[in-house]
Amino acid sequence: MIAHNHDTGSICCSRCSSPVPAELLGASTGLTCTICGASLVVEVYPALFRGTGPVEVGDSLHAEDEASCYYHPGKRAVVPCAACGRFLCALCDMPLAGQRLCPVCVQLAKAHGQMLALVNHRVLHDRIILSLAIFPLLVFWITIITAPLAISLAVRHWKSPGSLVHKSRARFILAILIAGLEVAGWTTFLVYRFV
């Protein structure tokens, strides 16, 4: 069974959303919208004509001895899941990062942050810890609490996944150095004051 999407081959003006005619379009075209008069530079790629393509929803079982989908027992299995090995029909087959997975494995991979292609949010622990080491210096006495806290958090989150685009651990190191100096300063002060 195939469902088609017909939203193909139309480009709209980014200002007034009126469609731009095919005759005016080329691989890379400069044109003027005749509705709002906006100048547009449009670069078209073959994917525009591909649309969203047919959506596979899976074939029904033709014979009793055929392997069926784990999630849809009435549908014919086409591939096993690369992670859990369950049989999947065309609807449940999810190709992702070179693997063919079932929806549950994709869900689990997303929840555990195992697949980079599914990561859409990351907490930047290194920046939080660096702020925790630097900003309390404005009110110096707080650093007696925040400096050890920053060091412990840095150790705890050393291996936590950070930004997808900035992979350096320089901020962690800097935070540990600053917090270490603060701890050393407090230790020296307390030793001289009370011992």
Binding site: G26, T34, Y45, A117, H121, V165
Partner: protein, 355 residues
């Protein structure tokens, strides 16, 4: 997977938007400093890149230049009055504005960039300068073409027709469709309010000129009435032109009139406050009428600042009034000729459809 930073960046108060090039996709990163959100645009799915030049950079340049000029004047005035601190302060502000102006000029023309993906079109906030958008295209174009292949201009047109044979996407049908769209969505408007506005603007210019040479209560009163009328008409015209078809020149002139009137009345207000508070504070005005007659009898030629405001208003009102009347008249003539040719065009289209 390693990412390479693409040019362009948008900084907000609490967020920063950047684009990164990955192996098979562009990664949009929205960062608030302590966390990042990601969106991927896969090269295999990018259908089109739409770049539209905007006027934002020019507006910023103009605003910065005007502000810097005004602050420079204030700095000179403060220096002349021996207020050294104020002069230095204004000088520093002016210098900062000029640096901002220089950066804005160096960044080049502004634009808005959209990526058309299946089912949805995304705006790229970080690509707000033409050179950044072009640099991004230069980076990703080869990758998209490697994955998707490339099509010639002729292939694109043929594929359009092949994909949607029932849908006529030719330029001629587009013009007829768009004209139908404009006729249906925009009601008929003869430009009456705009004509009245520009006409009254000319009358106001003449009355102001008369008052400049013969300051009296009657002329001042008439001038005041036309001023109120102008404000009402300009607001009505701006509301009307929003949903009705009108020439772009007339629309821009209406906005220019609005700015002229606002600047003009602000200057006049500042002058009258300064004049009555500073120069004539010892006098006691018994009623509104005595105050009004005192204002009417101010001879502009005796006060250089007021004379400049009057000249500015007369020149602006006469220029905009005249240009507005001409552009509205031209637009009326064009719309009349369109109205005459429209039944003939629709008849031709109907005959084509029947055949």
């Amino acid at each position: 997977m390693s990412y390479v930073r693409l040019s362009g960046k948008k900084r907000g108060f609490f967020s920063q938007y950047t684009l990164w090039k990955g192996g098979d996709h562009v990664l949009a990163v929205v960062s608030n400093g302590y966390s990042e959100d990601y969106r991927r645009f896969y090269f295999k799915d990018i259908q089109a890149v739409i770049i539209r030049p905007t006027r934002r950079a020019r507006t910023i340049t103009f605003s910065l230049a005007i502000t810097a000029a005004l602050i420079a004047l204030a700095a000179f005035a403060a220096a002349a009055a021996n207020q050294i601190f104020m002069a230095y302060l204004c000088g520093i502000i002016c210098l900062s504005l000029l640096i901002g102006l220089l950066i804005n000029v160096l960044l080049g023309p502004s634009c808005s960039c959209h990526l058309k993906m299946p089912l949805v079109t995304h705006e790229m906030p970080s690509l707000r300068r033409l050179k950044h958008a072009q640099a991004m295209l230069f980076e990703i174009r080869p990758l998209i073409r490697t994955i998707q292949g490339s099509l010639s201009d002729e292939e694109i047109k043929t594929t359009f027709r092949h994909l949607q044979p029932g849908r006529d996407l030719s330029a001629s049908s587009y013009h007829s469709r768009t004209s139908r769209l404009s006729y249906s969505s925009m009601q008929e408007y003869a430009g009456g309010i705009h004509g009245l506005l520009f006409g009254l603007l000319l009358i106001d210019a003449a009355l102001t000129l008369a008052h400049f040479y013969h300051a009296n209560v009657a002329l001042y009163f008439m001038n005041m009435i036309t001023g109120i009328g102008l404000f009402i008409l300009v607001i009505m015209a701006l509301i009307r032109q929003k949903d009705h078809s009108l020439s772009q020149t007339a629309k821009k002139l209406t906005w220019a009139v609005m700015i002229l009137l606002s600047v003009d009345y602000l200057l006049a207000y500042c002058f009258s406050i300064g004049y009555f508070v500073m120069a004539r504070r010892s006098e006691a005005f018994q009623s509104q009428w005595t105050l009004f007659s005192a204002m009417a009898e101010i001879i502009p030629a005796e006060h250089p600042w007021l004379a400049k405001v009057y000249m500015f208003h007369i020149a602006g009102a006469a220029t905009f009034g005249l240009c507005g009347i001409i552009s509205t008249a031209l637009w009326r003539r064009q719309s009349r000729s369109r109205a005459i040719s429209r039944p003939a065009a629709s008849r031709v289209l109907r005959e084509e459809g029947e055949s």
